[in-house]
């Protein structure tokens, strides 16, 4: 179900837990479908002993994909015009992420209604892992 300009205002927000206790298996699944087989994300031995990280960590695009799930649940299917993020901190196995969208502005453009959103995804410690913005077409 899509959002409607008539019952939406700046400051409204929506959030959901997009992953609980992120597993290494999920990282393997994401590598397989995205085609990004960087061993930093799937190969603990490489990540620790060759690359110098505490272990494997999530693809940025997995964090964005999880954030996108919240976003499409909020604005409805097929409504996005823009979706952009910055990756501000790494996401690790065991993390629980909560993604939130906040209405910045509702506006009309070319006879269509749009909502501009700001996005933030945080881990269980309240650390921000993603900030971003999105624009979606909404009903009048």
């Amino acid at each position: 179900m899509a959002l409607s300009a008539s019952n939406l205002k700046a400051g409204d927000s929506y959030k959901e837990v997009v992953v609980e206790d992120l597993t290494r298996t999920q990282l393997v699944m994401y590598a397989g479908t995205s085609g990004d087989y960087n061993p930093l994300h799937t190969d603990d031995l490489y990540s620790r002993e060759a690359a110098g990280y505490p272990g494997v960590f999530a693809h940025g695009m997995l964090s964005m994909g999880l954030t996108g799930k919240m976003l499409t649940n909020y604005v409805g299917d097929g409504r996005l015009a823009k979706f952009g993020v910055r990756f501000t901190n790494q996401v690790w196995p065991g993390d629980t992420l909560t993604a939130e969208a906040t209405v910045a502005e509702i506006r009309e453009e070319g006879g269509e209604q749009f909502v501009d959103l700001t996005l933030e995804t945080k881990n269980q410690d309240g650390k921000t892992v993603i900030t971003g913005t999105a624009t979606a077409r909404i009903d009048p």
Binding site: A2, V18, V19, Q26, M29, Y30, G32, T33, S34, G35, D36, Y37, N38, P39, L40, T42, D43, L45, Y46, R48, E49, A50, A51, G52, Y53, P54, H59, G60, M61, L62, M64, G65, L66, G68, K69, L71, T72, N73, G76, D77, G78, L80, A81, K82, F83, G84, V85, R86, F87, Q90
Partner: protein, 161 residues
């Protein structure tokens, strides 16, 4: 990275991609549901365009037969000498959608290198940023998605403190 990549959009790939981001939304896998929805057909999740890597014959983060891979086998890395750079981390990703991708689309993806810049950081030393712009055109030549990605190469692993 190849200059021009052919990317067929397939229903099974969309289904598996949605699973890999933990998204059960039936619009990504259930044809009957999708047919009766506002959209009217299966679509791809918003971050799906980056799966273009699967279709890039030169993609550097996919092992190739007969070429040593930098991930672990007997040893932590399959290469001799110091650990190679993996080509950097993803710093930013921006999509613009002109329409939603759907199964059956035959995309042609062109890549242009954009700006580059540097920054000093406490957590990872000197950061080198590189912007890449990808345009996804469909079987009719219409622009359907524009992607702007910023990657960052760090001087050392990112400090977790």
């Amino acid at each position: 990275m190849s200059d021009e990549i052919k990317m067929p959009v397939e229903a099974t790939h969309i289904m598996m991609f949605a699973r890999s981001i933990g998204d059960d939304n039936p619009i990504y896998h259930d044809e009957e549901y999708a047919k009766n929805s506002d959209v009217g057909h299966i679509i791809a999740p918003p971050t799906f365009p980056r799966a273009v890597s699967q279709f890039d014959p030169d993609y550097h983060l996919r092992p190739k037969n007969g070429v040593k891979w930098f991930g672990s086998g007997k040893n932590p890395t399959g290469l001799d000498g110091p650990a190679p750079s993996s080509g950097g981390l993803h710093a930013e990703q921006h999509f613009e959608y002109h329409r939603q991708l759907r199964p059956g689309d035959q995309l042609t993806v062109t890549t242009k290198v954009g700006k580059t810049w540097e920054k000093e950081s406490k957590r990872a030393g000197k950061l080198k940023f590189l912007e890449r712009i990808q345009e996804y055109r469909d079987q009719n030549g219409d622009l359907v998605v524009t992607s702007r990605a910023v990657s960052v190469t760090t001087e050392r692993p990112v400090d977790q403190g």
